[in-house]
């Protein structure tokens, strides 16, 4: 990247400030830059340069200090929370937040796992890349169930924006023509294994309406000219994505939106800039800039622009907003409704069913497929809901041949045992549920004004719990998963839930949403349907905070679409001089 792009002090006003550089920050910056707006992307963490800073990429396991595991002492001192993330290990720890510097509180009797990626690119470097569209029923769910508030948009409002971001980001997947999981603009899907095809056939026959498909994932299975022009090439199926990928084979800010934004010469980046608050001009009722604390030396500075886009992740954005107080907004900027910080949701990934698959002894695979199979939510409407709870869940479905990791648990001593360890064992499968979490007013993040972190930001207090609906859903998901595995001919079927475990508390799915929700009514929502603040016309929030319900699908693709849509609207409003 051209060095001139990075700035520190700047008195000149920008057209737009984009706070955050993850999935939504990257998209917002790209969209504004390509429309000719001088844009400043503000990132609280350090610069991570594509390729150059992927320090563990390609490093074989025996070259790590502890064969890819992280040292106890380091975990104890710096990664007590982050260690609970599935992707945390010695090759990825540099992209996780430091828990010592980033403390938070939880209300007694509750738990929350806040996983952070504070660097240029944010969590786009670390994400799991599963990319699905929400369906029409997802947008109608709150209204139908009388829970939370009604989404101010419907599927048709966002469908074209899904297409737009999919084409650019590169999503592999299969067209399935399912009402509960709309198709998109797909690159070819990854291949299914024989056992997966066999399971699919048996389960789909036994349970009409339940489909087992290849996961849709932001990987270039066959890059288009558009992807090659971003400097990205075909996925090599290393499945070591979270170390960073110099092939640019998965979508990240670094691989995709950042080079596109930089190419326009309209982008500047202020890294190491912890946004303290939004600066508000009460006389004009406009956000005019942000106040920043330097990540390293704690000095303060300010950046100014005509428009402010908050894309700092749900919790990051909400913390900034709650901390931006004024006479008019004593409880946080753009918070006349009082709902800011409430209705925090995550997904509930806490039910699992596993089994063995008989046969297919002469089949194996080559390559480490960076995606698994998927069963979309089949309880999308009230008439499809199961007894005892609202809404539904999807399953991530993974099959594999067991190897020495599983076999090392079996009985055996000596040369025969040693021989067995080196060859593939039985096929196994697991169904992992991914459940919706209902919006609940009392699931809240707030600020503790009496305790501050090293940058002087008030500590966040989380008061979030899985409630009866979430628990009943997971109990059912475990049971239903087992039922399907048995119907699929599996043996040794086991199932269970994990929502009671502290390390599986809300937050651990890293799909936080809902704390600055959209809505039609300014009295009960923070944002309008374009992610624009009801209260302050030039303030936008396009990350997960804008959600009204968690839905079931992984949210990042929707974040991208909402962001691109918001920028398009905002740019038109700017040109019409209405902001």
């Amino acid at each position: 990247m051209n060095k001139d792009i990075y700035i520190k002090q700047q008195n000149e006003k920008f057209d737009v400030l984009v706070v955050g550089s993850g999935i939504t920050g990257g998209w917002a910056a790209k969209e504004f830059c390509e429309r000719g707006f001088k844009t400043l992307m503000i990132e609280r963490g350090r610069v991570v340069e594509h390729r150059k800073d992927y320090i563990a990429e390609g490093k074989p396991v025996w070259e790590y200090d502890n064969r890819s595991k992280v040292d106890n002492l380091l975990i104890e001192q710096q990664y007590k929370i982050q260690k609970d993330c599935y992707a945390f290990h010695d090759g990825t720890k540099q992209f996780f937040g430091n828990d010592r510097d980033l403390p938070y509180e939880t209300t007694e009797g509750t738990d929350f796992r806040w996983i952070r990626g504070n660097q240029l690119g944010g969590k786009s470097l670390l994400w799991h890349r599963q990319s699905y569209r929400m369906c029409e029923d997802d947008f109608l769910a709150n209204k139908r169930d009388g829970v939370g508030n009604d989404w101010p948009i419907r599927y048709d409002d966002i469908a074209d924006w899904y297409s737009y971001v999919e084409t650019f980001a590169g999503i592999s997947g299969s067209k399935e023509n399912l009402p509960n999981l709309p198709d998109g603009e797909f690159l070819p899907p990854f291949a299914m294994t024989g056992p997966e095809k066999a399971l699919k056939a048996k389960i789909e026959k036994a349970f009409p309406g339940r489909n087992l498909i290849m996961g849709r994932t932001a990987h270039l299975t066959e890059p288009t000219l558009l992807h090659l022009s971003q400097g990205r090439v075909q996925c090599q199926t290393r499945n070591e994505c979270q170390k960073g990928c110099s092939f640019g084979a998965y979508f990240s800010t670094q691989s995709s939106t950042l080079p596109a934004a930089a190419k326009t010469n309209n982008l500047s980046i202020a890294a190491n800039s912890v946004v303290h608050s939004v600066i508000y001009d009460e006389t004009r009722n406009r956000a005019i800039g942000v106040r920043v604390i330097d990540n390293d030396d704690l000095s303060t500075r300010e950046y100014f622009a005509d428009v402010v886009f908050l894309c700092a992740s749900t919790i990051g954005t909400t913390q900034i907003m709650l901390n931006s107080t004024s006479k008019k907004f004593p409880n946080g900027i753009a918070n006349s409704s009082g709902v800011l910080g409430h209705y925090l949701m995550d997904h509930n990934y806490n039910a699992r069913a596993t089994g063995d698959i008989e046969g297919f002894d002469d089949e194996y695979y080559k390559g480490r497929r960076p995606s698994s199979c998927y069963m979309p939510n089949f309880q999308t409407r009230p008439e499809l809901y199961r007894k005892g709870y609202l809404r539904g869940f999807a399953y991530g479905i993974n099959t594999y041949r067991s190897d020495w990791r599983g076999k090392s648990q079996q009985d055996g001593i000596g040369s025969d045992f040693k021989q067995q360890l080196s060859t593939p064992g039985k096929w196994g499968v697991d169904f992992s549920a991914q459940g919706e979490m209902l919006p609940h007013f009392d699931n809240q993040m707030s600020l503790n004004p009496n305790k501050k972190d090293k940058w002087g930001m008030p500590l966040i207090n989380f008061n979030v719990e899985y409630r009866e609906n979430e628990k009943a859903m997971m109990d059912d998901a475990a049971e239903m998963g087992a039922e399907m595995l048995r119907a699929g001919g599996c043996t040794n079927v086991k199932s269970g839930t994990s929502y009671e475990l502290p390390h599986r508390a809300p937050g651990i799915a890293i799909h936080e949403v809902g704390t600055a929700r959209m809505g039609r009514d300014p009295k009960t929502s923070v944002l309008n349907q374009y992610c624009q603040s009801h209260d302050i016309p030039n303030l936008f929030v396009t990350d997960g905070s804008a959600y009204c319900s968690s839905g079931v699908v992984n949210p990042s693709l929707t974040f991208m679409a909402l962001t691109a849509r918001a920028v398009d609207y905002c740019a038109k409003e700017m040109k019409a001089q209405r902001l």
């Binding site: 990429e57 200090d65 002894d361 080559k366 020495w404 000596g414």
Partner: protein, 202 residues
């Protein structure tokens, strides 16, 4: 559905794209590996000593070395001790495991030796191979040992196996190693074919 494995012409095209985007040296290093071998953290010790380790004293280390070689004896591939799995277990427990897990391993190793002395009048390292095998089998069969001891032994055993297959020789030569697979596809498996030693997560 189309498999994503690359054919030779596709592979050439992929390399051309990559070279164009990042230059020849970086592209080839990324795909074919670099020759840099950085010395870090746990290194297999040339002598595969049974001297005291970070956690274990000399007697424990000697017993562990014999346990390792009983579970994973030398065949047409190296033994566990040839790859210094006993040194690995000591190092890994010290750096990456809790005090209670360290204690579990220390306890079971000591108990194996104690059992050997009490019932066979010799320390575990002094037993012949057949006796060593039978003693460890009796732990798994819970003959003279409890369920708790069986669990403790299984934990130790899984660490030994982890050390074996995450070593360079274990992953690269004893298993099949393919750091940059170039695509995902289904392949046939023949009798005796090895598992992949190149894994994404451990």
């Amino acid at each position: 559905m189309k498999p994503t494995k690359l054919s030779q012409p596709q592979r050439r095209k992929f390399m051309q794209h990559l070279v164009r985007t990042m230059g020849v040296t970086s592209a080839t290093a990324l795909v074919y590996g670099s020759n840099l071998n950085v010395a870090l953290g746990f290194q297999i010790r040339a002598e595969k000593l049974d001297a005291a380790g970070l956690l274990f004293d000399k007697t424990t280390m000697q017993t562990l070395k014999h346990i390792v070689n009983t579970i994973l004896p030398r065949t047409d591939t190296p033994s566990g001790a040839d790859l210094d799995c006993h040194g690995f277990v000591d190092h890994q427990l010290f750096h990456c495991h809790s005090k209670s897990e360290q204690q579990v391993c220390l306890q079971i190793i000591t108990q194996i030796n104690d059992y050997s002395l009490a019932h066979l009048n010799q320390s575990f390292p002094q037993l012949n191979n057949q006796q060593q095998v039978e003693l460890l089998q009796s732990i798994e069969a819970m003959k003279g040992f409890t369920q708790l001891q069986r669990n403790q032994f299984k934990f130790l055993k899984s660490l030994i196996v982890f050390g074996y297959f995450t070593s360079e020789q274990g992953a690269k030569e004893i298993l099949r190693y393919d750091p940059v697979p170039g695509g995902f596809s289904v392949i046939p498996l023949q009798e005796g074919d090895k598992s992949w030693g190149s894994l994404a997560y451990y």
